[in-house]
Amino acid sequence: MTLIIGVLEQGLIYGILALGSYITYKILDFPDLTVDGSFPLGAAVTAAIVTKGGNPYAAFLISALAGAAAGACTGLIHVKCKVRDLLAGIIVMTGLYTVNYRIAGMANVPLFGSETAFDNEWINQIPQGLASYKTLMVIAVVAVMVKVLLDLYLKTKSGMLLRATGDNERLVTTLAKDSGTMKIIGLAISNGLVALGGSVMCQQQRFFELGMGTGTVVICLASVIIGTSVFKNARWMKATTAVVIGSVFYRACVALAMNLGLETTDMKLIMAVLFLIILIVTADRKKKVRNHA
C-alpha cells in the first residue's frame, strides 16, 4: 500500500511537470530543455522561502512565477534573438544552475525542521485515519487544480490562439497577432508549471538538491508520450488527463522495475525499449485508421 501511495505521490508531482511539458512539446511543438533548470528553480525558491518560515503554499505560487520568468527568458532568447529552440533552452538551463545555487544558498538544503505544505499545523488537523494519505491528498489537489485550470485556459481566446500557434504559425500572423508573443507566453506557462512541480517535490522530499533537475526533460517527455499515445483514441478523455495518467503509469513502471530487483543502471535501457514499444504499437493503430478512411 505504501508503495502505491508512493507511486501516486511521485506520479502526480511529475504529472504537474508533464502538463507543463505538454504545452511546449505537444501544443507549441517546441522542444524545451529549460525544464532541467526550472524544475530545481522551483525547488530552490521553495527552499529559500520555507526555511525562512515563509508560507509553504505561497511558495507554490512564487515558485511558479519564478519558473514562468525562466520560461519567458527562453522564449525571448528564441523569438527576439532568433536563437534556435533547443539552444535557447540549453542557454537558460545552464544559467539557471547558478541562479538556483544563489537562491538556495547551498547545494543541499534540508527542510526537515521547517513547515511544509504537507506538514504544518493546519494540515495536521486532519483525522488520524487519513494521516498517511495527507501528502497524497495535497498533491492530488494541486495536480487536479493545475489540470482543470489548464483545460479552462486552453478554451479561452488566448488559449486557443496558443494552440493555433503550435498548429499553424502563419494563421496567427494572418489573424494580426504576434506568434512570437504567444510562444513566449506558452513557454512561461509551461515552465511555471514545471517550477510548481519543483516546489511540490522539494516540500514532499523535504530537501533541495542542486542536481535534482538532471534528466527532468526525459521524465516529462516520457509521461507526455506515454499518456498521449496510449489514450490517443480515447476521445472521451482530455489530453491533459491522459498526460497525468501517463506520468503515474511511468512512475509505476519505474517502481515495478525496481521492485522486481532490477538494477537502476539497467533501467534506462528498459525504459527506452518501453517507449519504443508504446510508440510502435500506437503508430501502428494510426496507420490502420488511415486505411479504413
Partner: protein, 354 residues
C-alpha cells in the same frame, strides 16, 4: 482499447525479461504484492530474533561509498548478523539521481524492513523522509555534516528515528601532513563540485584552517565532470600542490587530474585510501571500510534492541590514518620524512591502474 492493453502487457513483458536477466531472486511470479508480503514474512521472523532484513540505499556508484557498504556488512557480521545467514539485504543504487533516490526510499519503506541504511546525503534525506511515519529506523553513513543535513542536532543527538556516522575530513591533520611533506609549499589548490554539499562544507573548513599552517588556498568550483580538465589546468598554473576532497565528481575524474599534475611535477594529495592507491602522494584520511564497520556495529545495536536510533548520537571516526604512495614520491622526487613513513598505516609501493 485492446491495443492499449497490448502495449501495457508488452511493457510488462519487457520488465519481466529484464528482471529475469538481472538474475535477482524474485522468481517468475512477480507482482508488487507478493514481494511486499514476502517481506512481511521475513520481518515476522525477525521479531523472533532469528533473522533481519535491511534495505540499503546508496546514492552513487563510487569506490568510497562501496567501501562503506562493505564495511557496514562487515560490522554487522562481527556482531553476528551475517548476510545470507540471518540477514537479508535489499541493496539499491540511485545512480546519483534524486528522482531514483526518492523512488528507492519509498520502495524500501514499502517492504517494511527492520532497518534502512542510507549511504550519502540525498539518500539519507529521502529515506528519513519516507520512513518518517513508520517505525523503521534509518542509519546513515558517509555524510560529512549531519547537522547541516538536518539529520542531527547541533549537539550530535538525533532528530528522530535516525542516526549514523559522519565522514568529516580531518582537515587540520591533512594540512599538517602536507606541511610536513612539502616544507616549501605556499599555495594549495582544490577542485570541488558546487552541487555537492559535502564538498562545500569541507571547503569552508579548509578556508578557515589554511592560514594556521602557512598556506593560501585556491579553489575552483565545477558543475560537471567535463569541466574537471579545464579546472585542473587553471589551478595547476597557480598552486604548489593539489588537494582532493571526497568530492564524488572530482574523484571520478582523478586520472585526468593526476595526468596533468604529474606532467608539471605537482604533487596531488588525496583524502582517503583509494585515492592514494590510484596515485595520490599521500592522504591523512579516512578508511571508509572502517567507517562502515563502525556504522554496522551501531546498526547491530539497534537491530538487537540494545539501543534506539533516536537515542544514539551520530559518530565520527576519531583517528585518521596516514596513507602514502612511495612510487608517486619517487616519480616526483620528493623525499618522505622518516617520521611520516613510520607513522603511515599503509604504504603503497606502486600505482594501481584500477
Amino acid at each position: 482499447m485492446k491495443k492499449n492493453m497490448i502495449a501495457i502487457l508488452m511493457a510488462a513483458a519487457v520488465l519481466m525479461t529484464g528482471c529475469a536477466s538481472s538474475g535477482s531472486g524474485a522468481g517468475e511470479d512477480t507482482s508488487a504484492q507478493s514481494e511486499a508480503s514476502s517481506a512481511e514474512e521475513t520481518s515476522a521472523e525477525a521479531a523472533d530474533g532469528a533473522s533481519y532484513t535491511i534495505g540499503i540505499s546508496q546514492f552513487a556508484i563510487h569506490g568510497s561509498l562501496d567501501n562503506c557498504r562493505e564495511g557496514f556488512l562487515q560490522g554487522l557480521a562481527e556482531e553476528g548478523i551475517v548476510e545470507g545467514e540471518n540477514l537479508t539485504v535489499d541493496y539499491k543504487n540511485a545512480e546519483s539521481s534524486t528522482e531514483y533516490a526518492n523512488q528507492i526510499a519509498s520502495d524500501l519503506v514499502s517492504g517494511s524492513p527492520d532497518m534502512i541504511c542510507a549511504i550519502a546525503t540525498p539518500s539519507a534525506q529521502s529515506c528519513y523522509n519516507a520512513a518518517m511515519n513508520t517505525d523503521i529506523p534509518v542509519i546513515y553513513t558517509a555524510i560529512t555534516d549531519p547537522v547541516a543535513a538536518q539529520l542531527a542536532n547541533e549537539d550530535g543527538s538525533s532528530v528522530g528515528n535516525i542516526t549514523g556516522t559522519s565522514d568529516k575530513l580531518p582537515v587540520e591533520k591533512q594540512l599538517e601532513m602536507i606541511r610536513e611533506l612539502l616544507p616549501e609549499a605556499e599555495t594549495i589548490g582544490i577542485i570541488y563540485t558546487t552541487s555537492e554539499a559535502n564538498s562545500e562544507s569541507a571547503i569552508a573548513e579548509y578556508e578557515a584552517a589554511v592560514e594556521k599552517y602557512g598556506f593560501t588556498l585556491e579553489t575552483v568550483g565545477i558543475s560537471t565532470i567535463s569541466e574537471v580538465s579545464l579546472a585542473a589546468d587553471t589551478l595547476l598554473a597557480k598552486v604548489d600542490c593539489l588537494n582532493n576532497l571526497t568530492d564524488n565528481t572530482v574523484v571520478q575524474a582523478l586520472p585526468t587530474i593526476l595526468d596533468k599534475a604529474n606532467a608539471q611535477g605537482i604533487p596531488v594529495f588525496g583524502s582517503e585510501i583509494e585515492q592514494v592507491r590510484k596515485g595520490c602522494l599521500a592522504a591523512e584520511g579516512l578508511d571508509y571500510v572502517a567507517l562502515g564497520v563502525t556504522t554496522g556495529k551501531m546498526a547491530a545495536q539497534i537491530l538487537k534492541g540494545e539501543a534506539e536510533a533516536s537515542q544514539l548520537p551520530y559518530e565520527s571516526i576519531a583517528d585518521s590514518g596516514l596513507y602514502l604512495n612511495t612510487a608517486v614520491a619517487e616519480n616526483l622526487g620528493i623525499t618522505i620524512p622518516e617520521s611520516a613513513q613510520e607513522r603511515a598505516i599503509e604504504t603503497f609501493a606502486e600505482i594501481s591502474a584500477e
